[in-house]
């Protein structure tokens, strides 16, 4: 099978415009005859479900949370980028496009990224119209800030809760459609399989998480907007329920998985404090605008940070990257922190942390100014660690945060399984090998509000979709698969909890498929993951009943899928013998330990096709061409 990204013809700024004209339409009167299934109701799914409902389609939406308002999009703090150029500082759609392609280390598809930058402008308008309370200046106009080292102020924000406010905007639009009856919302429902009929995605198998009932739902198209798979690492900044199940089932049903090894590890998180730790908390990237990162010069220095004199501190980011200093991109900052800790200069009880020090900033700007800028973050830090960051330096360490990889999609956001679409973090997306700050919200909403309504209509309008019944044998078979898996999990009756396995899996991934990866380690990881997976299926203990709310069962099903995905992450990481973005292969680095990209051999999207469990998946390559942004080696020296 040859991958066709279906990139429209024409100059980049005309592609989306032309494409929309060329897409087939569905007559407004006919739309309600088409049922669309939307899985996941965060920014991408919620926005898509609401917009499709407004257009007149019959939408059936599913979420594992108790309400669409709780999706993990809610946790994004910093903001959302948009090329409005309200600050007159030379921003443009083209610049946002360029920055995103470059920030993604030249592993993204230009046409998609350009469209994203183009739509960013409409997103802000739409959200304002919905009543999203963006920060304003005294003039009453929208405020902006610069974020993640960007040289223009293009980030719109709502205090430190931008994700929350955007999600509540999408949620309210969705709620309106639910009230109007165009969208049927199913909260506390988990999609466990995709039903394929005549080569097209025509339905889903769903478990009602309250009654345990297994339901069949048919439709003309299925949208997966189920978020990322960072929780494969157990400890991550993701919500506890975030999972890969829906996209993994799609993969096993024929959708290709793109760039699974591109996992973003965020540099500023609160370090792990003990075995009890269940998740990691992100501290906004903006802290690096004023905080200075350092470690003691001496290895295993037992002194308290404030007792270490200036000359015995190593401000390693400022030393290694004099031009960007503490503001180097996320991947660079994360790797540098890991390197210092691996060299024995880590701090805190675990020795797996570095200092982020505000003493100079407080001296220079005054405590009040720092409090105004970061007060809520400092409070949160103190709440969690019981240390006062105004007095002692914060301890930070990188943590798994976002997955650039996901289901491979073409320009229409359709996967290789016709009729199955993927949006938001669930697709392999527009971020290449590294996502810039404040771009995840942008992508989720662009996909949901603007891309899918057009492209999905194009699919429905241009495809002959005979009615399908949920009595079809394909539904019965998929349901049986789901029931069998549940029965298998319940009948193991082993002696170890699901969390036990999940923690071990996470440790393998973090140690060997984390910030630094090498061939030997990745090979070990693959065999260790397989062994652990076998152990899981022999020894996991899942208590309770299947016909009622059962959190152990939910977790077990998700972890079972993480095991299979983890192997694919490692396989992809092993095959990509270059360093790029969030993927650092130790074999591919410059003399001074910087990442070395290999455009000659790896300038492609790796799309993996499922060939059976324990079988090597088949690699398909979507070659990337860069007509507008010419690849260059990133340098922050």
């Amino acid at each position: 099978m040859v991958l066709d990204a279906k990139i429209p013809e024409g100059p980049i700024e005309k592609k989306w415009y032309n494409h929309k004209f060329n897409l087939k339409l569905v007559n407004p009167a006919n739309r309600r005859k088409h049922r669309i299934i939307v899985v996941g109701t965060g920014l991408a799914g919620g926005a898509a479900a609401a917009s499709l409902g407004e257009m007149g389609y019959e939408v059936v939406a599913f979420a594992y949370q108790d309400s669409a308002r709780r999706a993990h999009s809610i946790a994004a703090q910093g903001g959302i980028n948009a090329a409005k150029n309200y600050r007159n500082d030379g921003d443009s759609v083209y610049r946002l496009f360029y920055d995103t392609v470059k920030g993604g280390d030249y592993r993204a598809r230009e046409a998609n990224v350009y469209r994203l930058a183009e739509l960013s402008v409409n997103i802000i308008d739409q959200c304002v119209a919905q009543g999203v309370p963006f920060a304003r200046e005294y003039s009453g106009y929208l405020d902006n800030r610069s974020f993640g080292g960007a040289q223009v102020s293009r980030t719109f924000y709502a205090r430190g809760q931008t994700g929350q406010q955007l999600l509540l905007g999408a949620y309210s639009a969705l709620a309106r459609q639910v009230g109007l009856g165009t969208v049927k919302m199913n909260a506390r429902h988990e999609v466990l399989d995709i039903v394929v009929i005549d080569g097209r995605a025509r339905g889903v198998i769903v478990r009602d998480m309250v009654t345990g009932e297994i339901e069949r739902h048919s439709g003309d198209a299925v949208v997966l907007a189920t978020g990322g798979y960072g929780n494969a690492y157990y400890l991550s900044t993701n919500a506890k329920g975030c999972n890969t199940t829906a996209i993994w089932r799609a993969y096993k049903r024929g959708a290709f998985f793109g760039n699974p090894c591109f996992v973003q590890i965020h540099p500023t998180c609160i370090p792990v404090s003990g075995d009890h730790q269940s998740k990691l908390t992100l501290m906004s990237e903006s802290l690096r605008n004023d905080g200075r990162v350092w470690v003691p010069m001496k290895k295993d220095d037992p002194r308290k940070p404030n007792d270490i004199p200036e000359e015995e501190r190593d401000y390693y980011l400022e030393r290694r990257y004099p031009a960007f200093g503490n503001l180097v991109p996320r991947d660079v900052a994360s790797r540098a922190a890991k390197l210092e800790c691996d060299n024995g200069r880590g701090v805190g009880a675990s020795k797996m942390a570095v200092y982020l020090d505000f003493a100079d900033a407080i001296k220079r700007q005054g405590k009040a100014k720092i409090e105004e800028k970061y007060g809520n973050l400092f409070d949160m830090y103190q709440e969690i660690t019981d240390e006062n960051p105004y007095e002692v330096p914060m301890r930070i360490y990188p943590a798994v945060h976002y997955t650039m990889g996901g289901l491979w999609v073409d320009y229409n956001l359709m996967t290789t399984l016709p009729g199955l679409f993927a949006a938001g973090e669930a697709n392999f997306s527009d971020h290449g090998a590294n996502r810039l700050g404040a771009s995840a919200l942008m992508q989720g909403l662009a996909d949901g509000y603007f891309v899918l309504p057009s492209t999905l209509s194009g699919y429905i309008g241009g495809t002959d979709l005979p009615k399908v019944s949920t009595d079809a044998p394909e539904f019965a078979e998929a349901e049986k698969d789901v029931r069998d898996k549940i029965d298998r999990l319940m009948s193991v009756k082993g002696d170890k909890s699901v969390d036990y396995f999940h923690k071990h899996l996470g440790k393998i991934l973090w140690d060997k498929v984390g910030m630094g990866r090498n061939e030997a380690g990745l090979k070990e990881a693959i065999s260790e993951i397989r062994e652990l997976r076998e152990d899981f299926w022999k020894n996991v203990r899942v208590l309770g009943d299947t016909n009622e709310l059962n959190q152990s069962l939910e977790k077990a099903g998700r972890v079972a899928d993480f095991f299979e995905l983890a192997e694919l992450i490692a396989i992809d990481a092993l095959h990509r013998r270059e360093s790029c973005g969030g993927h650092f292969r130790e074999e591919s680095q410059t003399e001074d330990n910087e990442a070395k990209r290999d455009d000659e051999n790896f300038s492609y999207v790796a799309a993996w096709e499922f060939k059976g469990l324990n079988e090597q998946p088949e690699l398909h390559k979507e070659e990337l061409t860069f007509e507008y942004c010419k690849p260059s080696q990133r340098s922050y020296k």
């Binding site: 999706a71 308008d125 739409q126 009543g131 309370p133 509540l168 709620a175 639910v178 506890k240 009890h276």
Partner: protein, 246 residues
Amino acid sequence: MNFNLKIWRQKNSSTPGKFVDYSVKDIAEDTSFLEMLDILNEELIAKNEEPVAFDHDCREGICGMCSLHISGEPHGPKRKVTACQLFMRSFKDGESITVEPWRAEPFPVIKDCIVDRSAFDRIIQAGGFVSASTGSAPDGNAIPIPKKDADLAMDAASCIGCGACVAACKNSSAMLFVAAKVSHLAHLPQGKVERKERVLNMVAQMDKEGFGSCSNTYACEAECPKGISVAHIGFLNKEYLKASLS
């Protein structure tokens, strides 16, 4: 640290529940309350007992999923935090802690400490939105919004919909939740067009769901993890009166 726990166990919505005593030992003080329950659950699984079911998701205080009534208060004794951001250092070693679900007729218990809060969704569906269909929006800067109004709207909009206000209120009133949304949207020009229908419909739905009325005890504000002010309730009342009279 060691703790004695008294936890509400209930198999499902149709079976009556009861308190069961547990104890946990050697808990590090920087363990979060939910992580302490994780530890208990691991011990229960090891003993072949079904773990305690409780709602949780983001574990960073923003999703509003966690909903535990701890030591007599929603989200526990600490102010302005959700249960997931409550750490065991807030308790005394050896303390007895009662853990139970939100109690309110419109929030029926699903299992153990998990309740059904879909009533909140239905209230939002009744009017907690601006009817701005995708694609219809003018430029974001077309209508300037005074910073004061935007800030006020943001104060109200920071509600996470956890339901602690209902859980804290002796009348199980949802007024703080409803008021926060009414106030958020009514303070913005975009929300003014529908403000009248919004407040009438949302209050009607709130009453229909079976929430109690507001006695102005202000327990909701005290227990709200986001510190949402009861001033919004006063605002709602005024909105409601105006909408009824006009």
